[in-house]
Symmetry: C2
Subunit: 378 residues, 2 copies
């Protein structure tokens, strides 16, 4: 029993990074006295390190896993980029690499790129692929967990209908765990981010698509076959534009970054296509058209989130993706939309904040996924 409890503590630390003894008690269901005994024994055996800290103003003991040489990789595939992070279960980042991906490559070519990038990252740190605990992989589309395929309607049309999981395993030659990028963003917020205490939260990634990862009762929620969090396809305009999913007036048709850039482009002459960075820069600088584009998209997003909050009553909704740096310029209209459409008691009990991990969230969450899966008995 003692060994079993020690393993549970190890799994929590490996999955979520350093934690106080009180947090460990809450997350394992063990008493604080039991935790304290086991942690003392683990520290004596150089399995963990304890550090004095404070939590809510009180003295507390922070417990971190001692590094034992184990590490995992997190890979985040975007429409136009690959990011790789190598990290340890003790939450040390060993290396990080980012690379643009030219348009037009098919899934196999992009995975080959990732394989070369992973090898360079490993070489840089003097580590071997066969020592990897595994590799978490995030993709910007819904993953059918029965098959490991990205389903129709994903933001990566070239990837649809291919068994990405098999392809990744064959190419990367390490255990691979595939998930939707918004799910990994949610996972990162409760492990690498500041929301380790949150039980029920939604992480919304606003980009060319609008996806949402759900942590319910402290764990990622996958529903029936993994097709959760498709917030971007909430109907907000009965007779709106036809959406790539085949429905009409979906949130994505009025609040994706692609739509926002379209609207902004019509207000100016430009010698090159506008980028999300241009939109962020213009809105931050106070450009009235850019501000209005963000405000209207934010209100529509808030309205869709109101329906989500009415149904799930999460304690926290986190807005992530490339617009997160806009801070209150985006958050204020989202809050207005949510306040306008949620029932008052739900609105009053749901915090709304900006993501804190920037564009590394998905790759960090992918590392966590690899740690967690490595801890699951085979």
């Amino acid at each position: 029993m003692r060994d079993f409890n020690q393993q549970r503590i190890r799994d929590v630390l490996a999955g979520s990074g350093p934690a106080t003894q009180a947090e460990l008690a809450r997350r394992t269901g063990l008493s604080t006295a039991t935790i304290s005994n086991i942690v003392r024994r683990m520290a004596a055996a150089s399995l963990v390190t304890t550090t004095p800290t404070t939590s809510s103003g009180r003295k507390a003991t922070l417990v971190s896993l001692d590094e034992d040489g184990s590490f995992a990789a997190g890979i985040d595939f975007g429409r136009r980029h690959i990011r790789i992070i190598l990290a340890t279960p003790g939450h040390t980042i060993l290396a990080e690499r980012f690379q643009d991906v030219p348009p037009g490559l098919d899934a196999t070519e992009v995975i080959d790129e990732a394989d070369r990038l992973l090898q360079r990252t490993l070489d840089e740190t003097g580590r071997r692929r066969e020592d990897l605990l595994g590799c978490g992989v995030g993709v910007p589309g819904p993953v059918d967990r029965r098959t490991g395929e990205i389903v129709y309607g994903a933001i990566l049309p070239e990837w649809v209908g291919i068994n990405i999981l098999d392809r990744l395993r064959t190419t990367l030659r390490t255990p691979v765990h595939l998930d939707n990028d918004a799910n990994l963003g949610a996972l990162a917020e409760v492990t690498w981010g500041p929301h380790v205490h949150a039980h029920d939260l939604a992480f919304v990634k606003v980009g060319s698509g609008i996806g949402m990862g759900l942590i319910l009762r402290g764990e990622l929620y996958y529903g029936n076959v993994g097709l959760t969090g498709e917030l971007g396809h909430t109907t907000v305009a009965e007779q709106g534009q036809i959406c790539r999913c085949g429905s009409r007036g979906c949130l994505e048709t009025v609040a994706s970054t692609s739509y926002m850039l379209d609207l902004l482009a019509r207000t100016r002459r430009a010698d090159r296509p506008l980028t999300t960075a241009d939109l962020v820069e213009a809105a931050t600088a106070g450009d009235p058209a850019a501000r209005r584009v963000v405000a209207d998209a934010g209100q529509a997003l808030g309205r869709a989130l109101a329906s989500t909050a009415n149904i799930l009553n999460p304690e926290l909704i986190i807005i992530g993706g490339p617009l997160a740096t806009l801070g209150h310029i985006l958050l204020d209209p989202v809050r207005q939309g949510m306040h306008r459409h949620a029932i008052p008691a739900v609105s009053a009990t749901t915090d709304l904040v900006m993501a804190s991990l920037g564009d590394r969230a998905e790759a960090l969450g992918a590392c966590t996924l690899a740690f967690q899966q490595a801890a699951v008995p085979a």
Copy 2:
């Protein structure tokens, strides 16, 4: 360890009623060999009875708790009725009573009515109140689990802002567990109903209000403070009618039974106000106006459910409430609305069915709540 596992089996049977050995294995995480050993021992000690049965065409062993004299009460409060069921953990219904409640009574008067009805039900079966395991209570409104109050916006305005839970405990003089009626409908479907295998489902109660109970990963989901499943306040018409919740164009303003009756009443001269039973009768008889009222409300409901399914990807959505007897007359337009607005892969993996327990669902679920809470260590 053996006693601990025996208790887990007992708790599952008490919470959910008779189950096959295979189901017990799935729900406790114990091996089928362990289950089989423990069940044999429990049967020898007259704690359970085993009966041969078939499951998916194969021979199986059904395990039921032997009655030990313990029983609980389930009370369902509607806007205009009280229903009480007395039942045993072995799923024997001992007694059932229904009573209309005149309009205009305040919460205290209605609870006093329930107390008298409970006493008559106990007397009828020759049982004593002090032998009750407890009493589950369903109310048609969202319950704030921090306080035991029904929150603003509930369908029972006279009950808002009163500590109903305290009032019930004082009056009924037995352990009381309060929940929203749609939550109890969902619980009943996976315990008394046919959906005992379902992990992730939504139970929708369509009445004067539209509420939804969620079973996620096999358990009722309560979110942050219990205000989940407020499907009736999904915005479906940006510039629609003002709703009692303070928002605008909520699903309830176009798909509640009250709204349907209003629409129908305008098509005919009547010497008394129309009732839901009149609507059901007219639609069943093929009355074109009644059919159209149901079709339009059903499509709107389907659209709101599409957004829910896009986010939660449940395996099953169950439509309950007083219109459930309409069967396909209601189910077909709901399915059309859902198909039109959900992403295709979600639509294809979500079953949509009518509730099977009729207007007893909430009181049966309330009994289950009392069994489950009695099994929780104090």
